[in-house]
């Protein structure tokens, strides 16, 4: 990993333990401004824990997280960062239109909610209670919620999980537009094709540490696919 003092995100020697078991074990990584950084890893690798540290929801046992040059979880960081959690992230009875209007109201210069809804294809179910939406529709609403405040940096935890192929490709197009606009994107994913087509830089995380990192070209330079690199460098949980 190159030295990146001006990085949008710098994670250094991060340790988080739950009940004595390390979820992050001296994890170190960085995300360059204006780039899309992908975190790949099997279930339980520590990706969500890492994102929660980056948004200040979890306090690490040791190590540091610097977000846009400051500490994670401060009021300044919360204003400049957008976050899409892996879990649903909305009240069950709220409609997408209500949720986005509410979230937009928390910011000084939000995106136009109607235009954002159109872009993400939310209009068809804008007045349907959140609990009645499909998994993919909920993901699209959550993604819109992470972007509505016009952040400099967004953390997206499995943003396309549950989406159909049309929605996935529309989301990929949107993520490219974000990058073109200068937004730094850090996303977790299990989809190798997603990382392959989108990521400027990839970290493969396993058991709380970075197992291997590089651009997609660097990682697949030996003729292996990204999935083969992933399988060779991670252990994951055996099926029961």
């Amino acid at each position: 990993m190159p030295s990146r003092d001006a990085d949008a995100l710098v994670v250094d020697d991060l340790v988080v333990s739950f009940g004595g078991r390390p979820a992050l074990d001296r994890l170190t990584l960085a995300a360059a401004p204006g780039e899309l950084t992908a975190l790949l890893g099997p279930n339980g690798a520590g990706k969500t824990t890492l994102l929660r540290c980056c948004t200040g929801l979890l306090r690490p046992s040791s190590g540091t997280v610097r977000v846009l040059g400051g500490a994670a979880g401060t009021a300044d960081a919360a204003t400049r960062v957008g976050s899409m959690p892996q879990s649903t992230g909305a009240w069950s009875g709220i409609t997408p239109a209500e949720l986005l209007r509410y979230l937009a109201g928390l910011y000084a210069h939000p995106l136009d909610v109607a235009a954002l809804s159109r872009r993400l294809g939310l209009d068809a179910f804008a007045r349907t209670p959140y609990r009645r939406l499909s998994g993919g529709q909920q993901q699209a609403v959550n993604l819109a919620g992470a972007l509505v405040g016009r952040p400099e940096l967004v953390f997206l935890d499995e943003p396309t999980a549950g989406m159909d192929p049309h929605a996935r490709h529309a989301t990929w197009s949107l993520l490219r537009d974000l990058r073109s606009a200068g937004v730094t994107v850090v996303l977790t994913t299990h989809a190798m094709d997603e990382a392959q087509v989108l990521a400027d830089y990839v970290f493969i995380v396993d058991r709380g540490v970075v197992a291997v990192e590089g651009t997609v070209a660097e990682l697949t330079g030996s003729g292996q696919t990204l999935e083969q690199v992933f399988l060779a460098n991670t252990e994951g949980a055996a099926p029961r």
Partner: protein, 253 residues
């Protein structure tokens, strides 16, 4: 395709707007929720009406009406807050909002404002129903002020107790336990039944409960009386519960 400008332009709305926006959103969601409305209005009104015409342990309307007002504060500040927050934690609502300009303090302030709005509406509506059923309270200026302070302390205390449950247990466990505690304190917490109606041996213990403190303050206050103990009891509960909640509450599930 619209020409959305994604170029970064971060900035937070003014804090009062954020808090009010959150409070109104929570209030709207609660008003739409049938189970919460049952707790907030239907059950208290039913007790008022049944108690007015049947009497029994609840006593006459002069005792019954302030008891039902105390019940309304208890249900909205404890049970509703515990259940709603438990599921907000489970569904990632807290995780999402804590990472926005609303922040943790704004979220708590918004929640408190929502509870205050809801309890105010409840107290006004239930007082009107009670008045229609013949309630003629005899508050003095001092007893009314003490009752108001007791209600505010009780709201804050019950919210802290609710957040202790919701911030440490799974949502389903919070749902079950919050309802169980609600019923247990309605029946045995001297909230709607005066302390003096319980066996003498239990009365000193009951006077240490926040539910009893609220119920007795409202009952006595509505008769123009000013007992000394409810406000200190509630203040101590608030101090302890706020310290505990600040240490144990978890924002993620």
């Amino acid at each position: 395709m619209s020409a959305l400008d994604f170029s970064p332009a971060p900035g937070a709305a003014p804090a009062p707007r954020r808090v009010l926006s959150h409070a109104l959103t929570e209030t709207r969601l609660l008003v739409r929720n049938g189970e919460q409305l049952l707790l907030a209005l239907v059950i208290p009104v039913a007790i008022l009406v049944i108690g007015r015409f049947v009497g029994g342990r609840f006593g006459q309307i002069g005792t019954l009406a302030p008891s039902v007002l105390a019940l309304a504060v208890w249900s909205s500040s404890f049970t509703s807050v515990a259940i709603a927050t438990g599921f907000e934690r489970r569904y990632g609502v807290l995780e999402r909002l804590a990472a926005t300009p609303l922040g943790r303090r704004g979220l708590l302030a918004g929640k408190a404002t929502a509870v205050a709005l809801i309890v105010t509406a409840q107290l006004v509506l239930l007082s009107l129903v009670a008045a229609a059923l013949g309630w003629r309270p005899e508050f003095s200026v001092l007893s009314a002020a003490a009752a108001l302070v007791a209600v505010l302390l009780a709201i804050a205390t019950f919210c802290c107790l609710a957040l202790i449950l919701a911030g440490t247990l799974q949502a389903e466990a919070t749902l079950a336990l919050a309802n169980l505690i609600y019923l247990a304190f309605v029946a045995g917490g001297a909230l709607v039944i005066p302390v003096t109606s319980y066996p003498a041996v239990l009365q000193p213990v009951l006077r240490l409960l926040p539910t009893a403190a609220l119920g007795e303050m409202l009952r006595a206050g509505s008769l123009g009386q000013l007992p000394w103990w409810p406000i200190p009891v509630l203040a101590i509960w608030l101090l302890v519960s706020s310290l505990v909640v600040s240490r144990v509450f978890r924002w993620t599930s």
